[in-house]
């Protein structure tokens, strides 16, 4: 991992991507003891629309807390892709929801597609865990934090009754993400 | 009474489903994020859908 690694999660408001970013930052900073900063967009009126959450992870203290040029970007909807799939590093990584993003942003980065919502709904059984599936995939693809740390961070965040569901979601995402790289 | 033509302005529709639920004749349906005119022939032009749509997204025209 480089000194400073920047990840952006984006999608529709309410899809839980802020939470995904927070979990990732907790995995890095609370569990793995790295430095991490999470921040998110507050639209002009915080009403619906696309939203984003950014996480910066580093071995050293993080001075500038905003993304400079992101290493990995996730976009769950077309609007999010249009709005936030930019400023990606050359050779960086863009993960799109295969069903909801039709027009693929172009740039000098690698684009991957995964039917994240569908996996959540069909394979895990609840759309609401799409963000955890996405998180799993991103961790699987980037290795920015360890699988164990990320899983633990997910489980710390959810109430007992939902732990199994989220575990399943995370791991499915992780596997599918890893597969994509092959 | 002449039949109705229901116009959905997709750009405006936010898929809240108010029109669907308040239509007395079950004319409308949700299609993920958008409303869909499923049974236009059943429409009695009561105007509920148009009046209640918060998003200026559905219009009831004379056919």
């Amino acid at each position: 991992m480089s000194q400073r690694y920047e990840i952006r999660f984006s999608g529709a408001g309410g899809q839980g991507l802020i939470t995904a970013g927070i979990i990732l930052a907790e995995a890095a900073s609370i569990i793995e003891g790295k430095s991490a900063v999470q921040s998110q967009s507050y639209g002009p009126e915080a009403r619906g629309g696309a939203s984003k959450s950014e996480v910066i992870i580093s071995d050293a203290p993080i001075d500038y807390p905003k993304a400079t040029i992101v290493d990995a970007c996730l976009a769950m909807t077309q609007e999010a892709a249009d709005k936030y799939a930019n400023g990606i590093k050359e050779g960086g990584l863009l993960l799109l929801d295969a069903d909801y993003v039709q027009k693929t942003p172009v740039g000098n980065f690698k684009v991957y597609r995964l039917p994240i919502m569908r996996i959540a709904k069909v394979d895990v059984g609840r759309e609401i865990v799409a963000n955890v599936v996405a998180l799993g995939a991103v961790v699987g693809m980037t290795g920015v934090v360890s699988r164990e740390a990320a899983e633990e961070a997910v489980l710390r965040k959810v109430p007992e009754a939902f732990k199994e569901l989220n575990k399943k979601a995370f791991n499915l995402g992780f596997e599918k993400g890893k597969e994509l790289l092959n | 009474m002449s039949s109705a033509r229901l116009e959905v302005i997709e750009r405006n529709c936010k898929g809240c489903s108010i029109c669907v639920e308040f239509c007395p004749k079950n004319v409308l349906e949700m299609d993920v994020f958008l409303v869909k005119v499923a049974r236009p022939e059943d429409c009695i032009k009561c105007m509920q859908c148009e009046l209640l749509c918060p998003d200026f997204a559905i219009k009831v025209h004379d056919a």
Binding site: E45 | R11, I18
Partner: protein, 270 residues
Amino acid sequence: MAYDYDKSIRPGKLPHIWCPGCGHGIVMKGLIRAMDTCGLDRKNTAIVSGIGCASRLPGYLDACTLHTAHGRAAAFATGVKMAKPEMTVICCGGDGDGTAIGGNHFIHACRRNIDMTYVIMNNFIYGMTGGQFSPCTPTGAKASTTPYGNPDPVFDISKLAIGAGATFVARTTAAHPREIDKLITMGIKHKGMAIIEVLDDCPTTYGRRNKFRSVVDMMKHLKANAVPAVAASKLTAEQLQGKFLTGILFQEERPEYCAQYAEVIKKAQA
């Protein structure tokens, strides 16, 4: 058939910023219909709001529109109206804007009985800032700053307006769209301060926290619990529990403020 709202909406402004299902859109449509019914010349109509989701309304309407500071709509509007009494002045905004920070301007505008129509969109919450309780949030309800349930009693906006001296006070809900424009029309035609309270919904910050499964649930709740004021007298206190009276709640004739001031001018010039 289909109502032509487009001629009242500023080009390119739709879709509006409100969330899916937000009742403010329904109210805006009612306001447009009322303005049409009254035949208002938009060039001579000022629409004045404060800050909040509801207060974003004027930006969409093709008129002289003034989006002020949080809570101050009635005070700005008073300046507009006093300076140019020939204009029609309409205030609009949320429950928080109008009755929390804006409470003083609200009651004083009522007292003066200045010729304005104030459409107050009461969604029981501060929507724009993410769902803190407002003076209209039901006691016991959940809001982002009442994690243990709201300890605050609520304002009955209409009662407050009457107590302050408003001369036309009416209430309806977003689930009664035809009544919205009917009452606003009456308010505009009324010479003096007219308060039209429209109970509406904020699915995003109020609904979810308070166990409404969907915006449709909220609309149904509004529809089910509205009792026309004219019918209320036949109901027992028990039957009225949790209901809200709708329709015209108060109406009287009193000298209008700008007309009173015209008398001052007459005396000064005598």
